[in-house]
Amino acid sequence: MTTLKHVIVRILTVLLLPVSLLPIYFALPRLKAEFSHVIKEPARDTLASLNVVFSSQEKARWSKFPDYRNAIPVLTYHGINDRNDVYSVSRHSFSAQMEMLDGAGFESVSIEQYVRFLNGDSEGLPEKPVLITFDDGRLDSYRGADMVLAKHGFRATMFVIASAAEADDNFYLNWNELNQMAESGRWDLQEHAGAGHHNVRHGRNGASGPFYAFRQMVGHELETFADYKQRVTQDVLEGKRLMAEHLPSFRPLTFAVPYGNYGQQETNDRRIPGFFDGFLRQHFKAVFVVNPAGFTTKHTPRGQIGRYEVRTYTTAGRLFNWLRNGVPAGRGQELLANWCRPGWTCQPRRRGGKRGQDASSPSIPVSQQQPVTDGLQFASAQPQSQPQPQRVSAEPRQQSQSTPSQPRRQPSQPRKKVPVTVPKTAPAPVVPSAPLDALEELPGVP
């Protein structure tokens, strides 16, 4: 027995040698990843467009996209890469989506054309205009998208975080690249934020929310409203100044609000959305948020233009359905859709809900944490730092604004019957994008 025990012990001690390699083996991918972020200069050249083959059925379906007038759908992307997080779109998906848009007859417009359209000047607009936007000024967006856009003769608008471009961070485009993009004629550059693309702490319990949407804690006290105003205006104007300084072709026309929230969705001071909207409108002709997604029409409030947020799992077919279902109806329905005015509690009658549940809808806690923007840290933490859309648990009131006949065509979808109060300062409520996603399997518009 002692011999046996001896042999077993011996074998175990020998096994220590290979076993000791395991921790290193398991850590290898992480080591590689860390250094590709921290050290290795990433490739910065643009990537080729990927070939997408659609079936003839699909092609036929694309080609039947209905006509629309006096409206421009707006898409927004965050990044083009193969990460499986919510906000990255793979190169293949993006290629397919552009192929679909092309097949459906869409033609992209520049931000100037778009703004002219807002001003009532539709001259030179293509038959099916679309505005393609990217948030954050990320390098991967440019690398993945540029050649695809070129292939289809499309152009896009990049909303740039000025401080990120200034920081020369590997994750973001730098000023040189932004200038190259502008010179290519495929890209328009607009402001996304100065440095305010992160959350601030606004509660003693450590709750945090978007930079522009909240008065933040300074020490143990909330800053005053005056300080808030000073902080956010300075940030936006500094971003604008930086962009003007580094980008000769820059014309400040529009502003895309980080996280799509400047207080109209959630805030700790009712004055914020009104103030910030007013401030932005002084300096920009139009302000983009995310929700409610939809086509821009002349009724769309300029301080809150919704965009279709394209995400990891948005297929070309799903995007097609979104757009098709979002095609604005005739003038009468448009009027109806915009019947509800700020301050009113609206509830479509046919859905039989009760009116006026609570005047001030409870603020929704912001779950995501924005990591510190330390150079090293930021790059590796990027996947988590994507803006999370502010979801509102209540049902949208204005189905017609984005998807006019959605409820009727989706009887099986369980729905909460919660009325929404339209806040005075925020003209339009929020349409969550989840119901839109659910539309994918629905039959086409009759």
Partner: protein
């Protein structure tokens, strides 16, 4: 004031234990006659593995040297630490023990004892068994006012042989006073100190004194292995640690003649090197308090000013180390306190020594001071305060260094033994517990007590 160095456990084990271990099959602590072919193969494999890790680390650091630009403070720190540790290993390859010059200088062996009634007799007998000419080996045992039967035990041995002289203090005066009295009472050319819980190999003394053929050498440290290896996981970790600390760290220091601590387990000094410093050493004060422990490091520092200090890897002693967590932590705290005191002294003069030796000495002072900050940043600050990133890179770095420690033991030790894994554990144990003692030790450096209890088991060797 209590230098008596024996825990209750060790007392119980005592003399019988030592004798049994020395006579019987000694665990992995001793070498080698029974090493089989498999052992040789496994040692070879470990060696190749070790070299692969070293090459990987060097390649990694070189390939990503830009980290120094990205993150200057911590990047440079990591490069320096890496270079420092690897340089220890490379220098230790250059180390050669002194040739046998046939030297046989007269040696006075000083054994201080305080309340050691069970162990002292066997200690002294092991000394008497040394393979060294009787006429050239004086043995002085000092009873420092023991309150138990120590004096009787000493006198019993002294009665058997005239070679043992006994000095008896009627009251306790402290270890340094006892050692100084032993030095003054003898006239031999060399003075050797042996802790009463250390046992010497018979040829240890003869090997060690050969180093004194170089007339500029003032002190030589012998090698210490852990005697009670199999007692607990704490002693197993220390076995690997001692092995690396002596074979690598001290050997590397020895190359430049700047061994920073001739440990109390077994060291020999040239009388002419210590006589001028005897009084200041005996009465050393730090922050207005009498310095009690750290006598070995302190005496080495006095000698190092004017002489070279070396290490002899063939002069083997076996020593008993703390076998439980609490004792071990207290011992390490004591070492760190004396390290604090002596670092301040050594920093003042070591620059006059060999540039590489003095640079290593300064790094040896600086790095332990910075290490807790770096560890804190990597393990606590970045993941928990800055949010997110787990310190994979840092931990893998630590693990690689730990593997080097462990594998060094595996490939250099006579028989391949699983014990090397304890070397890996030790590095993480150090990270978890010992690293953080540094600042506390500095803050309480003036504290002179041996531990929490007056008779806390302790050993002032390092």
């Amino acid at each position: 004031m209590h230098f008596a160095i024996r825990s209750l456990e060790v007392r119980a084990a005592g003399a019988r234990e030592m004798a049994r271990r020395l006579l019987g099959p000694i665990g992995p602590g001793a070498v080698s006659s029974s090493a089989s072919l498999l052992d040789h193969i496994l040692r070879l494999v470990s060696g190749v593995y070790l070299i692969a890790i070293v090459v990987a680390i060097v390649a990694y650091k070189t390939a990503f040297i830009e980290v120094v630009v990205v993150d200057p403070v911590f990047g440079i720190y990591s490069v320096i630490v890496c270079t420092y540790i690897l340089s220890r290993f490379f220098l230790s390859l250059l180390y050669r023990p002194s040739r046998d010059h046939g030297l046989e200088p007269s040696v006075a062996l000083v054994v201080p004892a305080f309340n050691e009634e069970e162990a002292i007799a066997s200690s002294v007998r092991a000394i008497l068994d040394l393979d060294y000419p009787e006429s050239k080996l004086e043995v002085v045992v000092i009873n420092d006012g023991s309150t138990d039967g120590t004096l009787a035990a000493i006198q019993a041995v002294a009665a058997e042989t005239p070679r043992v002289r006994v000095i008896d203090f009627p009251e306790n005066k402290g270890k340094r006073a006892a050692m100084a009295a032993g030095i003054r009472a003898t006239t031999a050319e060399m003075v050797a100190f042996v802790d009463s819980d250390s046992v010497l190999e018979p040829d240890a003394m003869r090997s060690l004194v050969q180093g004194f053929a170089d007339p500029t050498v003032g002190a030589i440290a012998g090698h210490a292995d852990v005697l009670n290896v199999s007692d607990s996981w704490i002693t197993r970790m220390q076995a690997v640690r001692y092995y690396v600390a002596f074979r690598v760290i001290k050997a590397a220091e020895s190359v430049f003649g700047t061994v920073s601590c001739c440990s109390g387990c077994f060291s020999v000094y040239r009388r002419s090197a210590i006589l001028p410093h005897l009084e200041p050493w005996e009465n050393q004060h730090f922050l207005r308090r009498q310095a009690t422990y750290g006598d070995d490091r302190s005496l080495t520092n006095y000698v190092l000013r004017g002489w070279k200090t070396r290490y002899d890897s063939r002069a083997l002693s076996h020593t008993i180390v703390p076998d439980n967590f609490g004792q071990f932590l207290r011992q390490q705290l004591r070492w760190k306190r004396s390290w604090t005191r002596e670092s301040l002294i050594v920093a003042k003069f070591i620059w006059r020594k060999h540039p590489l030796g003095s640079m290593a000495a300064y790094l040896g002072i600086l790095l332990p001071l910075v290490a807790p900050i770096v560890a804190c940043r990597a393990i606590l600050w970045i993941p928990f305060v800055q949010g997110g990133r787990t310190p994979v890179l840092y931990l893998v770095g630590i693990y690689a260094m730990a593997l080097i420690y462990g594998l060094y033991y595996a490939c250099r030790h006579g028989r391949y033994a699983g014990l090397w894994m304890y070397g890996v554990f030790f590095v993480f144990f150090y990270l978890a517990f010992l690293l953080w003692q540094t600042y506390y030790a500095i803050a309480t450096a003036a504290n002179g007590s041996w531990g929490t209890r007056p008779s806390a088991p302790a050993k002032a060797a390092s």
